[in-house]
Structure formats: C-alpha cells, structure tokens
C-alpha cells in the first residue's frame, strides 16, 4: 500500500493548488474528490448534450503570482487578457458599459465620477492586496511574524496618505448603496456597480458590513476587478491545475468521497490518523488538509465528539446560507440583447438598486423574489467547445435565491422560478425564450447537494466581518491549522475566502510547510 504524508480532501482549485505545493515540497500527497470531475464549483459540466458550463463562469481574482508559481502556462493554461465589460441592463434605458477606466452610454458626468471612484478603490485595493496572500495573525498571538503582518497592514494604510487612509476607514464598512450614491446618478449604473460587492453573499445594497471589502478583494486580480474567460474555457484552468498536481507527484482519486476524518492520539494529545472513505477503505496519513467547507469538515467529517464544545458551537453558528442560484441555458443561436451589438460582456439585469434590495427582502424571509436579479454571461462567445457550432451557452448567477424556501423546493417551484427568469431575459433580449433548447436551474440547495458545500454558499461561509481575516472561519482555526494536530483547512472557508483565487489553498500550503 502506498504511504502518504498528506491527504487533501476535495479537488477544487484550492485543494489542487495546496496539493501541488505540498507535493513539490517533497510530501507524498493523495487528493480525494467526491465528484467525477475535478474543479469543485469551477468544474465544467455538461448540462445538456453538447452544452457545457461551469458554475463559476468567469475569472477575476486569480493572482498572476499563483499562475506563475505553478507554471500553469506549461500545463496548457493561458490567462485571457480580454476583459468583459460590466454592462448595466435596463428595461427602459440604453445599456451602460463599464470598463476599467471609462463608462460608455451614460451621462458625461458619470464617467468623471467613475474615474474618481475607480482611482479611490484601486488605491485601497492595492494597499490590501498583500494581505489576501498572507496567513492572518492569531488573536493575542505575539509572535514576531504576526506583529509584522499587523505592522505591514498599518504601514500600507498609512502610506496611502492621511486623506486616503481616513477615507478608507470611512468607507470600509459602508453599505454598497451609500458608497455608489455618493458618486453616481444613473440607477442602473449604481445597481451594476453594487453587484460585485454583493454577489455570493447575503448582503444587499443597504446592508452595512463588508461589501466594500469584498469589492476591494475582487479588485486584487489582474484586471482590477474586471472579469475574463480563458479562451480555452474555465476547464483549461482546472485541467492545468490537475496536470501540475500530477506532475508534482500528487495522486488524484476522483469519485472517492470521504466519510470520516480519523482522529487518533494518545494520552499526550490528539493526532489525525487518516480518513475513512465512503467505500469503507481507510487511508492513513498524519496530515489531512480539507478544502471542504468548515461545517462539513468539522461537523460531518471530524464530528463534534473529537472537538471542543465552544469551538464546535462556533462552527455550528457559522452563517453559510448561499443565495446564488445558477441558470444555464442551451441556446440554438446567439440572442440579441436590446442596445447591444453583441452580448459579449457581463450583464446585470437591475434597473435600480431596489431591484436587488427587494429581491433580498423576499429571500431573507424564505420566499422566491418576484424579480430576481441576474448576472449574465455568454461564455461560448469567449471560449471554444462549450456549445455545438453556431449554438451558445447562457450562464447566469441569480440573486437572491434562498436555499430553503417556505414549503421546500419542488419541481413546480423551480419551474415557476425558471419561467420568471426566462421572462426577465425576454424583456432584455426579446425572443430569447424561443432559442432555449434546454434550461438548467441549480438552487443553492442543489449546489449544496451536488458540490457538497454547506448552504451552497460560494464562499463556504459568509465573508462578513465577523467571519473574515483572523476570524475566518473562526478563531483557533483561522491560520489553516485546526485544534486537531495534523488537520488543516485550505478552502474558501479560510482566509481570504472564496472566488476562484487559490489564495486559501496557497496560504494553507505555506502555513503547513513553515
């Protein structure tokens, strides 16, 4: 039997990155993925014969550093430099195109404001960027390295200059709405600019919390927050990560769900001893690194009896309700959106911020919103092989859709939501409904079940201030190590959180190797 030093649970991008870095450092690593495909929420799946789409359709947060460090270019991955415009769709007005520095289709004044807005956010994003790829110091930890991290953050904020630093402290916890209200007039523009602070969280435009921080973390990527789609598709990123892992010596086993993390030990303390697979097989290793979400890892795989009581209750209290549903459409041809030559951007279907707010109001009481808001991309315009020749895939993130609705999700309820979504699409792209060959709708509950993610939450745990930084997912597990010796976290539930960035996987590997 092969001896392993480390078992990685979960073959999403974080698990793959962590596995590769550990294997390169000389560890014998086996990675176990429950599903058939690697990639987790970024895995590309065939949702209809000949039509493929990943849940995560675009890239924005993947640092060049990780791509370079893993030499993903040598494994078939080429990052795209073609950014997608963020397009504010409106039922009654012309679409507004938001690019890196300019705005098209809005009043002149808006463009000037956008320059100021972007310049401010970039200053802040740049100051914060180093901290997404660092292990956060533990609370009350007085180690030199921890103090250095605090010091570094202080210096970064201070060197922005006094005015910018104070402005940062003023806006950091603002609701998205208050921030964009200060800068813009157009309703649909404000709504579209809110989107990146909100999507994947349980925040709406009026929620004060970390939405601005979310925007800033998403701006840390190569294109200042604008999205791209690799020309070979998201699958090219995942297969490059797989290839890099295999090249580093990682043994990858798919369709291998883990049912238990084995915790052994003796009178001198606990120690991880391997995992028990759902098929009854045991794999021994003194280190287990889980990219599964914290609730799944601690409550299901480890189990409360092997953990401390207060810690377990903190994990139970983690807020993990996801509110993003996925709509995938197989289209017989390219739809025509009003006011757009080509729907080759990232389109937000909110006339105004209240569309988001009201959708959230329904969702938070367990109701399906009357008018959900969508972020639409047609990835087949950018990446080859997603749809048969001449046909297209429309992929939309739908907010705010509760995982649990009153009375529970039924086929009829899903159909009702699907009809509403297609009706909304028809308003923006008349006749789109006639092009639909197949529609797939994944509620957060479906995402939870299919991808083994608590609550179907994009970030495994809400990225709110109480669950961020040295509190992510909770203290005593926020530096990737957990209370159980040998057990580590490396997924989106750890700092800095979700999105396809790989920082959590990379930070975890660094923490394990240090």
């Amino acid at each position: 039997m092969t001896q392993h030093d480390t078992i990685i649970i979960g073959g999403g991008h974080n698990g793959l990155i962590c596995a590769t870095l550990l294997a390169r450092a000389g560890q014998r690593v086996v990675l176990l993925e429950a599903n058939r495909n690697l990639g987790g929420l970024a895995a590309t799946r065939e949702f209809f014969s000949g039509f493929n789409a990943p849940l995560a359709s675009t890239l924005y947060a993947m640092p060049e550093k990780i791509v370079a460090e893993l030499q993903l270019d040598q494994h078939g991955y080429t990052p795209s430099s073609q950014t997608l415009d963020l397009i504010a769709l409106s039922r009654n007005e012309n679409p507004i195109h938001i690019k890196a520095d300019t705005i098209g289709g809005a009043e002149v004044g808006e463009s000037t404001s956008y320059g100021d807005y972007q310049s401010m956010l970039r200053t802040f994003a740049k100051a914060l960027a180093p901290f997404w790829s660092k292990t956060m110091p533990a609370i009350s930890d007085r180690k030199l390295s921890s103090l250095a991290t605090f010091g570094h953050l202080g210096i970064k904020l201070r060197t922005m200059g006094r005015a910018d630093m104070l402005e940062f402290f003023r806006v950091a916890m603002l609701p998205m709405r208050d921030l964009v209200d200060e800068y813009f007039k157009s309703e649909s523009l404000r709504a579209a600019l809110c989107w990146d602070g909100l999507v994947g969280t349980s925040m709406a435009p009026r929620s004060p919390n970390q939405s601005v921080i979310t925007v800033l973390s998403r701006m840390a990527g190569s294109h200042g927050g604008l999205h791209t789609i690799p020309s070979q598709g998201m699958s090219s990123l995942i297969s490059a990560l797989e290839s890099a892992a295999i090249a580093a010596g990682v043994e990858i086993r798919t369709e291998t769900p883990v049912s238990k993390v084995i915790v052994g030990g003796d009178e001198h303390g606990q120690q991880v001893d391997g995992v028990l697979l759902a098929n009854g097989e045991t794999i021994r290793a003194s280190r287990v690194v889980s990219s599964a979400d914290p609730k799944t890892t601690f409550l299901n795989l480890v189990g409360a009896p092997a953990l401390e009581i207060e810690f377990t209750n903190r994990i139970r209290r983690l807020r993990t309700k996801g509110y993003v549903a996925k709509l995938n459409l197989a289209l017989s041809s390219l739809p025509k959106f009003k006011g757009l030559d080509e729907p080759n951007g990232r389109m937000i279907t909110a006339d105004k911020m209240d569309d988001l707010e009201f959708a959230w109001d329904s969702a938070k009481y367990g109701e399906i919103p009357e008018t959900p808001v969508m972020e639409i991309v047609i990835p087949s315009l950018r990446a080859r092989g997603l749809a048969p020749e001449g046909k297209h895939v429309l992929s939309a993130n739908v907010m705010y859709i509760p995982g649990q609705i009153s009375g529970g999700w039924t086929a009829a309820k899903k159909q009702e939501l699907l009809s509403r979504l297609i009706a909304i699409l028809d308003l923006h792209a008349p006749g789109l409904s006639t092009l639909v060959e197949h529609a797939e709708l994944l509620t957060p509950e479906d995402i939870q079940n299919e991808f083994n993610v608590s609550g179907g939450h994009w970030h495994h745990a809400e990225p709110s201030v109480d669950q961020l930084l040295m509190m992510r997912p909770t203290y005593e597990a926020a530096q990737y190590a957990t209370p159980i010796p040998g057990l580590y976290l490396c997924g989106a539930g750890s700092h800095p959180g979700g999105d396809i960035s790989g920082n959590a996987g990379r930070n975890a590997a660094k923490a394990i190797l240090s």
Partner: protein, 407 residues
C-alpha cells in the same frame, strides 16, 4: 398548601409573586425550625443560611446527624444511547468506568480547560444519567450535546425532593426509619427502596466528608419522608443545618466551594480569573488516558508547562481566622504570593485551617498570612506562618466503613 415550589407565583393576590423566592418541597417543615429566620437564597429558592446556630448545626453533622436541603441543587437527566458518550466528552473523568447505580464526583471545563463547575453524576441505568451541580447548567449541557443526536436532556431540578442526611448517626436514623438495607451501601453507591406507596432513592454521598446519604423522592413524598426521617432521628440528634455549617464541614473535608475556591469559567469576566482542575488540586479527576474530553488540549499544555498557581491546604499558626488574607513569602511581606479562598477555625481538628491560591513557585518556600481581626472594635493585624497540608484536614474512617457504624 401543596408541594408546588411555585405556589407563591400562582398567588394572584400577590403583586410581587414573580419576584418571590421559590419554596422548597420541605419548606413547610423547615420554616418553623428556622428559629433565627436566617434565610438567604440559592438558585431562586429560599434557603437557610442557618436555622438556630451555625456551630450547633456543625456539631450535629460531626456528632449526631443533620439534614441539608438539596432541592435547590440543579438536577438534569441525560437519557439515551449517546448519553454516556456525550457526558464523557464533557467531563474530565472517565465515565465509562462508572457502573450502574454508582455515583461519581466530576468537573467540567470550557475549551480552555477552565473549570465551569463541579458536581456529581449518577448512573441510573445503562443509558440514563443524572447530573447534579450547584449552578444552572442546562445551556452548557445543550451546547455539549451538539453532535450527539441520540439523547434527551431534561431539566429535573423540581422533579425531585432531595435531602442530604449527614453525620455519624445517619445510618442509625435510616435503619430506625425502616431502611436498614442501606447497610450494605458503599460510598458512592445508590439503591432504590420502597417507601410508603412509592420509592426512595438513597445514595451514599454528601458534602461533609462524613458518613452520610442523600435521599431522593418524588415531590409528593417530600413531607411524608421528612416526617418519617425526623421521627426516626429523634433519638439520634437529627437537626436541619444550613449553608454556614455545610461550609465548615466541607472545608474540613477538603471539598471545594464554587465562588470561593474557583470562579465558574463561563461567568468569569477577567482573563484567567477562573481556574483549571489542575490548579485546584483536582488532577486526580482529569484522565488524559480516556478519549477526547473538553479542555483536554489546554490541560495537557498546562500539565506539560507546569502550574503557575495552585490551591493549597494551609494550617495557620494561632487561632485568628485567615479569612480573605493575602499571603507573602516572608514575615516582612517582601513579595505577595497568593490569597486565602476559605478559612475557619476547625473545631474537629482544633486547627486554624484555610484553602489558598498560591504561586506555584512560592509553594516551596515560606508562606505567611496577613490576618486582620478585631479586638473589641479595634482592628488588628498579625502575620502568621502557614504550613502546607497534603491530606484533607479532617478524615474519619466511619465515612467509608461498610457496614457503617450506628454511632
């Protein structure tokens, strides 16, 4: 009047009903005996500090027998296939070794290994346990049960009328009451015996370090049991005793009192103003060989790193009680090394005794107590040399003898 402890709260003519203290199931008998009306409160119950005279009640415990009302003590039933595993993970002692009809003293800690409370666990059947403790614990029990789905936790405090019977004639009293079968009951065992048309559960347990029992009946049998007990005990010097006498007996026996020797960890505000079992000399309660239990990691660390403070039993020269005294490393008070948590003049041992929390390093050197006392209203201070005692201040073979003596 009924045996409902909430009866005052149901009195619609009393505008303060909800604010009044609850009355114990034994109140109707205890109140006339409380000659001094010396009432205080415990867990919302009206509770006797003493009935007539603290010293007199103390001497009853040591020389004849006395009853102490444990109705206000918190009682929980944990029942189900997961009950043993859940409690075993919660407490520091190995509960898997606890047989049916046995009782064990144990403590439980927060994640940081700080003592939340101590108490006793009764194994009533394979899957059914009763936990008793001084302070309400239901929230902690519920938190502790996360991940153990197959059990039920019931707050059972008011489901029992319970009385502690302590002292050398306690067995003789029970025998005279017709419960002679307790003769074979060993310390920490329990037995169910018929009583009138019901049942009485008797455990050989207590908080005095002496021969003694705790009697548990359903509330409707509270007064019949009291009457039978006091009739049987009339010639054996039976007398109710209150909190003050308990506190004397328990200190002599070397038992800890919450809020004196330790602050309950869940209620402590200042960092580490609570204590670990190791600091409290309860290392014998902490079983690192058993599977995981709460606080284990922190306690292991403390065991390996060594204690910073520890609870000591002190024999103090002279007869001035060292209550609230600060301790020093020499008579000149060069360095402060700790403080007294409980102190008394022990009539049984004829010694000036105390529990004290002391810097572990200083425990090897001299220990001096700065004692303040009054002489006809004039404040006096003296420095008194302290000697560490390893054993409980007072132990008597009758406490463990089976069959027990009648006197």
């Amino acid at each position: 009047m009924t045996n409902n402890p909430d009866r005052l709260r149901q009195n619609s003519t009393d505008p303060y009903a909800g604010e009044r203290l609850k009355l114990s199931y034994f109140h109707e008998r205890q109140a006339p005996l409380n000659l001094r009306d010396a009432w205080s409160a415990w867990n919302g119950f009206k509770f006797a500090d003493y009935y007539y005279d603290t010293d007199y009640e103390y001497f009853c415990i040591r020389n004849t027998c006395g009853t102490y009302d444990i109705c206000p003590m918190q009682k929980y039933i944990i029942d189900g296939p997961d009950a043993l595993a859940m409690l075993d993970r919660m407490v520091t002692r190995d509960l898997t070794k606890l047989g049916v009809n046995r009782v064990t003293y144990c403590g439980w800690c927060n994640d940081s290994g700080r003592l939340i409370d101590d108490g006793t666990i009764f194994r009533l059947s394979d899957e059914k346990f009763m936990l008793t403790c001084g302070s309400p614990c239901i929230a902690w029990l519920r938190k502790s049960s996360l991940g153990f789905s197959n059990l039920e936790i019931t707050e059972a405090t008011e489901d029992f009328a319970a009385l502690s019977l302590q002292g050398p004639t306690s067995f003789a009293t029970l025998k005279a009451m017709g419960l002679g079968e307790v003769e074979q009951l060993k310390p920490f065992n329990l037995i169910h015996l018929p009583f009138q048309d019901g049942e009485i559960m008797i455990s050989r347990t207590g908080f005095t370090g002496d021969l003694g029992y705790e009697l548990w009946v359903e509330p409707r049998l509270a007064l019949p049991m009291w009457d039978a007990l006091y009739e049987a005990g009339a010639n054996y010097g039976i007398q109710p005793y209150g909190e003050a006498a308990t506190n004397m007996a328990r200190l002599e026996a070397g038992f800890l009192m919450p809020y004196m020797e330790f602050n309950e960890a869940l209620k402590t505000v200042n960092f580490e103003y609570d204590q670990t079992p190791l600091e409290l000399g309860l290392g014998w309660l902490v079983d690192f060989k058993k599977p995981h239990f709460n606080g284990r990691r922190a306690l292991l660390r403390q065991k390996n790193e060594g204690l910073k403070v520890k609870l000591l039993k002190l024999d103090i020269e002279g007869n001035k009680v060292a209550e609230e005294a600060i301790l020093y490393n020499d008579e000149k008070q060069s360095r402060e090394i700790g403080y007294v948590t409980s102190a008394m003049w022990s009539p049984a041992v004829k010694a000036n005794i105390a529990f004290a929390m002391v810097d572990a390093k200083a425990a090897n050197g001299e220990i001096w107590a700065e004692i303040y006392y009054q002489r006809e209203l004039r404040q006096q201070m003296k420095m008194a040399r302290c000697t560490i005692k390893d054993k409980p201040f007072w132990v008597h073979p009758r406490a463990r003898q089976t069959p027990p003596s009648l006197t």
